[in-house]
């Protein structure tokens, strides 16, 4: 059999397999070619992996305006308990207390969002999946103990 025939058969098999798989509910993802800059954080730019030179949603570089923050933060998060303790950066104008607390809440939300994403990735990893299963079993066991105590 000629190489060309083998390749054409392989292409047909792969095409049919892809069409069949696409019917199985695969989620599309963004592929990053080998020669391009990888996705993810940078040593200087941090989590975003990019320096933001200008963002119309921000008062200035890297800080979102109150309006943008309000638009991004879900209502349920905004009504959460008040948080205190984050220092104000040197040279930054001290905001009024309501705005300041809102900004802190926004920062907390961003941090939680990041951590939650990391948690989801960990859960998908081989080690994470195993540990997460153990955690679920431990939770069931705790519920069982609690139930036993109440009997």
């Amino acid at each position: 059999m000629k190489i060309k025939t083998i390749i054409m058969i392989a292409v047909c098999i792969v095409s049919i397999a892809l069409l069949a798989l696409s019917g199985c509910g695969g989620k599309p993802f963004d592929y990053n070619p080998p020669s391009e800059i990888p996705e993810g954080p940078g040593v200087l730019s941090g989590e975003d992996g990019e320096f933001t030179l200008y963002d119309s949603k921000s008062d200035k570089r890297g800080k979102k305006s109150k309006a943008a923050a309000e638009a991004d933060v879900p209502a349920a998060e905004k009504s959460g308990a008040e948080k205190t303790g984050a220092p104000v950066a040197a040279g930054e104008k001290m905001p009024d207390s309501k705005e300041y607390l809102e900004f802190q809440e926004f920062q907390e939300w961003k941090k939680d969002k990041r951590e939650f994403k990391e948690f989801q990735e960990w859960k998908k990893s081989k080690q994470g999946a195993k540990e997460y299963q153990e955690f679920l079993e431990w939770k069931k066991w705790k519920e069982f103990k609690k139930w036993q105590e109440n009997q």
């Binding site: 190489i3 060309k4 390749i7 392989a10 292409v11 792969v14 892809l18 798989l21 696409s22 019917g23 199985c24 509910g25 695969g26 989620k27 599309p28 993802f29 963004d30 592929y31 070619p33 080998p34 020669s35 391009e36 800059i37 990888p38 993810g40 954080p41 940078g42 040593v43 200087l44 730019s45 992996g49 990019e50 320096f51 933001t52 030179l53 200008y54 963002d55 119309s56 949603k57 990893s125 081989k126 080690q127 994470g128």
Partner: protein, 357 residues
């Protein structure tokens, strides 16, 4: 037919831009800067002599870029300006090593785009529609080994075993993954994704045309799968005109096993020339969330001379101790089997790092 094809894209593009810009106020603007440094150290042996090189990893060169976007009602206008900043690219290494090589500041991307529910229209220098279609790779070791095997060895000259003198044939003369036309000044259209499938077409200087089809899908129990097919007709572009097709597929299992295949064929327009074929396979393993290892084999036939069989074997290891830092090591062996000539193999051992800033 070509003129009609390009004319239709151009009219659609201009109409869309005009309508969108006239009626929609901008609602969000962003401008960003990012880049990477990718440096390696390599020991190489051509059968007669060996040497050590320190330079830029041409698999994914040192570079920086500016990106910007402005969002209108449902349409994002974007720009991308990107430069290679390479000192001694690994693709130019050859024995003997006599210095630090050249410094190259070159343009990679000068791209203006409009994206929305209609897909994406790009104008300027950037990926042709078929670029990367032979380079799908989910192994995690692609920073140092992937189907473009010339990136770390293009300049190395095979040595004639009989005379111990350079044969005049380099690895780059005999190897090619027959990927698309790389980055070029083009007008490109990408369809939106339909269940993971998308298609693209581009027209570039010299009346060259590229078309491609792409697939990406992530499955709970099957893992990740990505595949692409590309076709190129250079028409009057460049000194050697040809028609070319290529394809690649890469699968990453949920437990870390991964398999990558790439094939391609070039059919030169010149009378009496022979078709050249390429095949590449890589099998790898991703483990412990930060490690990846792989072995590869590839062969290009009949590219430089009829009957040539240029082959490579390789293995690679990559560790990502921090999200922005990759450390890698690899070894590769290149062979050229040419009738009427006995040539020494070229071997390489290399290590390096890519740091995103």
């Amino acid at each position: 037919m070509k003129k009609l094809y390009c004319g239709s894209i151009l009219i659609t593009f201009v109409s869309l831009v005009a309508v969108l810009l006239y009626f929609s106020p901008a609602c969000a603007v962003e401008a960003k800067l990012s880049g990477q440094v990718n440096q390696l150290i390599m020991w190489a042996d051509n059968g007669v002599d060996n040497d050590i090189f320190i330079g830029d990893n041409a698999n994914s060169s040192t570079r920086f870029r500016f990106t910007g976007s402005e969002e209108f009602n449902g349409v994002t206008a974007g720009i991308r300006i990107e430069f290679d900043v390479q000192r001694y690219p690994s693709s130019t290494f050859d024995i003997p090593n006599t210095g630090d090589g050249d410094f190259n500041l070159s343009d990679r991307w000068f791209d203006a785009t409009f994206a929305g529910a209609f897909g994406k229209v790009s104008l300027g220098k950037g990926d042709g529609a078929a670029n990367n279609s032979a380079e799908m790779d989910l192994s995690g070791t692609d920073v140092i080994t992937y189907s473009s095997v010339t990136s770390t060895a293009e300049g190395f000259t095979f040595i004639n075993k009989t005379t111990d003198l350079p044969s005049g044939t380099t690895v780059g003369d005999t190897r090619n993954n027959f990927d698309g036309l790389s980055r070029n000044s083009r007008l490109r259209y990408d369809t939106p994704k339909f269940a993971g499938f998308s298609f693209a077409g581009s027209f570039t200087n010299g009346n060259a045309m590229e078309v491609s089809g792409w697939y990406t899908g992530e499955f709970d129990s099957f893992g990740k799968l990505t595949a692409a097919l590309g076709y190129v007709d250079t028409n009057d572009r460049g000194t050697s005109e040809f028609k070319q097709w290529d394809g690649s597929v890469s699968w990453l299992a949920p437990f870390g096993l991964n398999v990558t295949l790439a094939v391609g064929q070039r059919d030169p327009d010149a009378a009496g020339s022979v078709k050249a074929d390429n095949g590449y396979v890589k099998v790898g393993w991703k483990f412990g969330s930060i490690h990846a290892a792989s072995v590869e084999y590839g062969q290009t036939k009949d590219l430089d001379l009829r009957g040539d069989k240029s082959t490579n074997y390789g293995l690679a290891y990559v560790v990502k101790p921090w999200k922005s830092v990759e450390l890698y090591a690899a070894a590769r062996l290149y062979e050229l089997n040419r009738s009427g000539a006995s040539l020494d193999d070229i071997s390489q051992i290399m290590a390096g790092t890519r740091i995103k800033f």
